[in-house]
Amino acid sequence: MTARSEAPAVGIVTAQRVRTGPTFRARYLIPAIYIVGLLLPIYWLLNMSFKTTNEILGSFTLWPQNFTLENYEKIFIDPTWYMGYVNSLTYVVINTVLSVSVALPAAYAFSRYRFLGDKHLFFWLLTNRMAPPAVFALPFLQLYSAVGLFDTPWAVALAHTLFNIPLAVWILEGFMSGVPKELDETAYVDGYSFWRFFFRIFMPTIAAGIGVACFFCFMFSWVELLLAKTLTSVEAKPIAATMTRTASTSGYELGLLAAAGSLTLIPGAFVIYFVRNYIAKGFALGRV
């Protein structure tokens, strides 16, 4: 133990030789402290959400003295609140399904074939990932009003494809390029048609990549607010917009705001669980 705790900062060699039981290394303190730091604001949010307004404004307490579920109750009773979650999840799911299903064949084309303008096309797609939503907010409002989709989940779902499709194509292309081409050729020799090969063999092979791409589309659509808020008014108002409007109109109901915020953590935590083993590779866009 004494000798091991002095392991060098990059002690991977020792890490694989010593497999007997959990050992403590001083360097693990760094990620541990970092994670505690990450959790503090989240704890504070949860803490606030279980307090009464009087307690929040009247005193400074590290944990709720009068534990209450009143704030959550309000959200689950009032349709303007809980419909916000339903609306958000609706456009996020539409967007994820749409983005990944059109990105799949495109990513296959980019990873397997050369065609006229392929490199330029790929770069053009990427530039849209880099486009600041602030630039597109107003034109989008006009465009989607003109086609009659304003204030529907479809408007937000379609608008979010602007940055999610390029991302999905990029991630899937990374994962697909890791699959040897011999797989395709063997399947054709065995008499598979293209689409049968694609659905029966190829898609299961890159299932992890598809999962990661879905995760990222879900993530970026779920966290975006500027476009979602601009493209909706009443019917399809996302939860994030409900929150900002409450904060500005009916005074500062911090407890309610904290409860609504805490509930937005759940979908993220839920989807992250499914991709936990691929998340690191996914963030490297499938190219490591």
Binding site: R112, A134, M243
Partner: protein, 287 residues
Amino acid sequence: MNKVVNQKAWFFVLPVVLLVAFNAIIPLMTVVNFSVQETFGDNVFFWAGLQWFEDVLNSERFHAALLRSLLFTGLVLLIEIPLGLIIALSMPRRGPWVSVCLVLMALPLLIPWNVVGAMWNIMALPDIGLLGRGINALGIEYNYTRQPFGAWFTVILMDVWHWTSLVVLLCYAGLVSIPDAYYQAAKFDGARPWAVFRYIQLPKLKYVLTIAILLRFMDSFMIYTEVVVLTGGGPGNATTFLSIDLVKAALGQFDLGPAAAMSLIYFLIILLLSWLFYTLMMRNEAR
């Protein structure tokens, strides 16, 4: 991988091209359209040429916002990249704790951006927030709604909290892809930890670090929602970054011409950088 030339591949990319073109080209043309015209309402437009571009490029307001955005991005990169790298290097490589670490670290990335702002608002309030109360208890006067320095400190701390994990996850992905044989060879040669880092880990991390730096550059340069919720661009204009200024001009004051010209200049800056990004990546991939 040697690819086959096949022009029919265009059919596979067609749905993507159509959808993205609908979303990208029509709005972009709208912006271009506004940027060269003058309007007094009622949908009557006059040709204004490059006047708006000149106005924007010469305006103090634009310079100030651009400078603030660049400063913010620079500071964020200076803090997040080394910090993320250090955390990734000191994480365990295998074992049951890896998944736990990764999931907890990724959590901030999945919180809606306005909630991030609201969360830090609650956290940093001088009277009821943990952070605000804590700093004031140390005897340092801190109120981010009044002091420009306090506001900057809070905004940067928030961004570090929000996005360092992205750098950690990227670097971690790069680190686990290094085969054990490399480390064993280094051990035979009696390499010191610094040498292992400099000659084995850093070269392997070059690619993921490129992605990390450029993703963080783009996203911090575009930051909007979190800051608006936290400080509203204030106190005064202290934290009014380019995107905030742009939305104020376009949706708040409906100064369509100048806002459109500003959008295009802003977009061109980002485009230039993404081209740099792409070239670097492709060169890396070609190797």
